[in-house]
């Protein structure tokens, strides 16, 4: 029965006109980097006095596309859809119509989550494929597909965590605009806090020249530097820390896992106790 519900939720999500719109935008967006690279390819860029010839492979096209995708665009789509799937359905009362049926609340919640993951996957595979084809067509060279695909895979994990996080917020605030605003408020706070930690880290060498090495302020700055990779923003963007050899910042990965599990627990508990009008 759960399989049937999952199938129904996936079909429902992909039948939403806005879902198709988001996918079309992602597909078109994935064509952009190839176009930009085609324009500058063959030119040269001066770095430290050395002129460097600009040349690209499909790997670069895919990497640029991923950066473009992850720079707010996809996250905004994900926040919107996650909010519509839970808070939206709560408000327009379609959630009620599902919950009067002989299903557990957990099944209703997690089938929606799986549908969102299907969107996440489509939102990754589509740019991956479009940018690969466009990159090969424009540059004629593949490059290291494995390395860039690892970044896409890391993004998938991060999006999975992020969608769970948004789902929890959506259930707590029970409003689509509230979810969007709430998520951006978190993002802003995270950004400010991250900048503060980065500032402390940047000031550390200067402070070290002024005070003794065992001064508490140096310890505090070391702690601040150690905290940064644990921030949610670092966790949700941990694909940026995955290097070509497949290495990654383990703290961000661990933080992502903690955030995902905590969000899942909050979402499950809130949904079980939710009074549906």
């Amino acid at each position: 029965m759960t399989t049937l519900i999952i199938g129904a939720e996936i079909r429902k999500l992909f039948r939403r006109p806005i879902t198709m719109f988001f996918l079309v935008v992602l597909g078109l967006m994935a064509l952009g980097p190839a176009g930009m690279q085609a324009l500058v390819s063959g030119g040269s860029m001066e770095t430290n006095g050395n002129a460097e010839l600009l040349s690209f492979t499909a790997q670069d096209t895919m990497a640029w596309t991923l950066t473009l995708r992850n720079f707010l665009v996809f996250r905004l789509f994900l926040i919107t859809l996650a909010a519509m799937t839970l808070a939206g359905e709560f408000r327009n009362r379609t959630l009620r119509e599902d919950l009067v049926r002989p299903v557990s609340r957990d099944a209703a919640l997690w089938s929606r989550w799986i549908a969102l993951q299907a969107f996440v996957l489509a939102g990754l595979v589509l740019p991956w494929l479009v940018s690969l084809v466009a990159g090969v067509a424009v540059h004629g060279e593949l490059g290291d597909l494995g390395a860039v695909t690892r970044n896409y895979a890391a993004t998938w994990l991060a999006d999975m965590g992020f969608s769970t996080f948004v789902m929890a917020i959506s259930l707590l605030v029970k409003s689509v605009p509230g979810t969007v605003v709430g998520t951006f408020m978190y993002w802003l706070l995270d950004l400010v806090f991250g900048l503060f930690l980065w500032g402390l880290e940047a000031l550390k060498p200067l402070v070290e020249t002024q005070v003794a090495a065992d001064d508490p302020i140096v310890g505090l700055m070391q702690t601040a530097a150690a905290l940064r990779p644990w921030l949610p923003s670092q966790a949700f963007n941990f694909y940026q820390n995955v290097n070509d050899a497949g290495g990654f910042v383990w703290q961000s990965m661990a933080s992502l896992a903690v955030i995902t599990v905590l969000s899942a627990l909050v979402a499950t508990t809130t949904f079980r106790r939710l009074d549906v009008p």
Partner: protein
């Protein structure tokens, strides 16, 4: 055989306000049970608790002897104006609901065809619900409620917002489902005439507590004794003479002011139409018409909510 629905000691509060207070009710298989009460009496909260949409603070809900989410497989529900995914067609909405009933697409397809035909939407099933009228949505809501082949149909204000024609259609459909398909129906409504016309049993709640529960026929027959004497409406050219004759003859106990030439009188204990006519004949009072005033369900309801 188990009762279709048994509610025992159902209680739900919002903060310090007790909305449903130790509510007990029982719906037997085959009943068309009308659940009545003034606005804010706790009907909607109680119905949502029965369907598991709202948590209960205390009490027990049993559906055909079972409890928990799985027990809801016996139930089809339509709560107020049914909500649909407007970007999907009527048929797609039913397919979605069928999955939640555990029906595979192949099993669901013929059932959906049948139900769309049953509610008169066979030709409109492939249209997006955003283009449906309210009446069509209500009928699609009934089709959706019937998807799991339920034994109990829970309907909250099923005719809410419908035009008179839509109300008649909905009422006929409910009646047909109860009579022809053997469904037990548990419905709430503000329309007393609707409840009187449809229901076999009623429960009237006030401030979250059950005030009166019983068969409609029993409650109606008990009206005279409960809410006052039987009444007659007399039309005459000489009301003063007529009132005097009846009072002196001990046939009536009170006269209520009506339009000019009309008297509404409360019959005394033991008096009836024939004895009143005889008294009028003896007194030589002329009367143009005499109409026994039949009390209806409204009296039962008003007595229950005013008590």
């Amino acid at each position: 055989m188990s009762s279709a629905l048994v509610v025992k000691g159902l209680t739900r509060s919002y903060g310090s306000r007790v909305v449903v207070d130790q509510l007990d009710l029982r719906v037997e298989p085959g009943d068309i049970y009308g659940f009545l009460g003034p606005n804010g009496a706790g009907k909607t909260t109680a119905m949502r608790c029965v369907l598991g949409l709202i948590r209960r603070d205390a009490g027990e809900v049993t559906l055909f002897g079972e409890t928990g989410p799985r027990a809801r497989r016996h139930v089809g529900a339509m709560i107020e104006t049914p909500a649909f995914h407007l970007w999907m067609t009527g048929r797609q909405n039913l397919e979605h609901a069928a999955a939640y009933e555990g029906l595979r697409p192949k099993e669901a397809a013929p059932l959906i065809d049948r139900l769309l035909a049953r509610v008169g939407l066979k030709e409109r099933g492939k249209e997006k619900v955003s283009g449906y009228s309210l009446g069509m949505k209500q009928r699609l809501g009934i089709a959706r409620a019937l998807l799991g082949s339920p034994r109990l149909l829970v309907l909250d204000e099923p005719t809410n917002g419908l035009d008179p024609d839509g109300m008649v259609q909905m009422r006929d459909l409910i009646r047909s489902l109860a009579r022809n398909d053997g469904l037990t129906v548990f419905l709430s409504s503000h329309l007393l005439s609707e409840v009187q016309a449809l229901c076999t049993r009623v429960g009237i709640i006030k401030e979250g507590r059950m005030q009166v529960e019983g068969l409609v026929s029993e409650l109606l027959s008990g009206v005279s004794a409960k809410v006052g004497p039987e009444q007659l409406l007399l039309v005459t050219a000489s009301p003063e003479a007529l009132e005097k004759a009846l009072l002196e003859g001990g046939q009536i106990t009170a006269v209520h002011a009506q339009r000019p030439g009309e008297l509404l009188v409360d019959l005394a204990e033991g008096a009836h139409l024939a004895s009143v006519m005889a008294a009028l004949g003896e007194a030589g009072a002329l009367v143009q018409s005499v109409t026994p005033v039949k009390r209806d369900f409204e009296d039962v309801y008003m007595e229950a909510v005013r008590s």
